[in-house]
């Protein structure tokens, strides 16, 4: 059995400023670090165990993963396949700047590059499919993935059998900062189990 925990990074400077990040590289904020430490404390109390942490190399994920891996004493690998969507010319812009500088479309098909030069939804979906496969090529075990909201949504699509749809229509899976989803996979029956989505109790307790 594969036990897979999908974790979104803590609050980043880009989140704080409300920017479209994509692959633009923002660090964590102090709140983001505190959220991550709250998660570490929770997982220590729950005696949670992982065999390996695999993280996106983008700063906001890297920092989140490094705090967890060092505190829980788990080996850590980086793989660019887990990076956030390349959102082209939108990278690092605020929603207002996007409206000012980039053309808007009434209809977007899923093959269309986002932000003029970025990944289409299909490209993102295909990358997520490869990421799923790269995980299943490892030995069964317990894996923590530290990645990004947009990409982790496509991980769900790739495992549950949902395909990209026009106008970003299609279900969304909410990931708050340092929220995680838990999935199990049984390769002998090709069955995916979804055990939890958007669990961020540690942040709720932190905020009282």
């Amino acid at each position: 059995m594969f036990c897979i925990t999908l974790l979104r990074h803590g609050e980043s400077q880009g989140n704080f400023e409300g920017r479209h990040q994509g692959q633009a590289d923002f660090p964590l904020t102090d709140i983001g670090r505190t959220q991550t430490k709250a998660l570490v404390d929770r997982w220590i109390a729950e005696k949670k165990e992982f065999d390996l942490v695999i993280s996106s190399p983008l700063l906001r994920a890297r920092e989140t993963a490094e705090i967890i891996a060092s505190q829980l004493d788990i080996p850590l690998e980086f793989d660019p396949i887990w990076m956030e969507r390349d959102n082209g010319l939108m990278a690092g812009l605020s929603p207002e700047e996007v409206l000012e500088t980039l053309p808007q479309y009434d209809f977007i098909h899923p093959y269309q590059p986002i932000g003029q030069t970025g990944e289409s939804q299909w490209e993102l979906y295909l990358r997520a499919g490869k990421a799923v496969q790269s995980l299943i090529y490892k030995s069964p075990g317990s894996y923590l993935i530290v990645s990004h909201g947009g990409f982790l949504n496509m991980f769900f699509y790739a495992t549950l059998g949902i395909v990209p749809q026009p106008n970003f229509h299609g279900p969304r899976f909410r990931f708050n900062n340092t929220a995680f989803a838990t999935l199990n996979y049984n390769p002998s029956s090709h069955r995916w189990y979804v055990l939890g989505v958007n669990d961020y109790l540690h942040v709720i307790s932190m905020e009282g």
């Binding site: 059998g161 090709h190 069955r191 989505v197 958007n198 669990d199 961020y200 109790l201």
Partner: protein, 214 residues
């Protein structure tokens, strides 16, 4: 629109390890406690519902009644939210079913379960009608109290997943009083899954297996 899909608390059938389906087992004292705990958590978080819609099977209706009374929300019943009919597997111990019905090489999603029960496609169809009944209501926050098997198919409908052959259908785990929450944007017609099982702090082992076998 906000939609919360809740599985009932621990039932007598969960406790004794039988496949319940549409057989009517009441809650255990622990199951009632789970429902009371959830109601009091929701009350302290100021969670509001406009209407509760429940399966009429006792394990669901008792769960719904506890929550409705505590949060002072009107309660209706809709038989479309009943659990899957598991045919002659109903009331059998799960290990007994597994012993007498060894894994087959292949089964398709149109096969009635337990000889006379509902196929996956029957269940998916019923789940979509149950969901449509809610979407035709006015905007609001709705709580559905139902069962693991049918709730899984309601999730398929929301996400656009179709029933799969053999053992390949994904499974969304609902522990006793586990729930999934969704928002549905009435102008973009877009669903977002806000959480699944994120609040459960009590042990959830019992009842997990009771609806898994399709």
């Amino acid at each position: 629109m906000f939609l919360t899909l809740l599985r009932h608390g621990e039932s007598v059938g969960n406790l004794s390890g039988v496949l319940q389906g549409q057989s009517d087992y009441p809650l255990t004292p622990a199951g009632m406690e789970q429902a009371r705990k959830l109601a009091s958590d929701w009350k302290s978080e100021s969670t509001k519902f406009d209407l509760i819609i429940s399966s009429p099977l006792r394990r669901a209706s008792q769960t719904a009644e506890i929550i409705a009374a505590s949060l002072e929300v009107p309660l209706e019943f809709d038989h479309l939210w009943k659990e899957r009919n598991f045919g002659h597997f109903q009331d059998m111990q799960l290990d007994e079913i597994n012993k007498h019905n060894p894994s087959v090489d292949f089964f398709h999603p149109y096969a009635p379960i337990g000889g006379t029960g509902e196929s996956q496609l029957d269940l998916y169809t019923r789940g979509s009608l149950a969901l449509q009944n809610i979407l035709r209501r006015p905007d609001g926050a709705y709580l559905v109290v139902s069962h693991g098997g049918i709730l899984n198919k309601a999730l398929y409908v929301i996400m656009g997943i179709t029933p799969q052959a053999h053992y390949n259908s994904p499974i969304f785990h609902f522990g006793n009083t586990g729930y999934a929450q969704f928002s549905y944007n009435l102008s973009t017609r877009q669903w977002a899954m806000l959480c699944l099982n994120d609040q459960i702090k009590m042990p959830q082992s019992r009842g997990f297996m009771s609806w898994k076998n399709d």
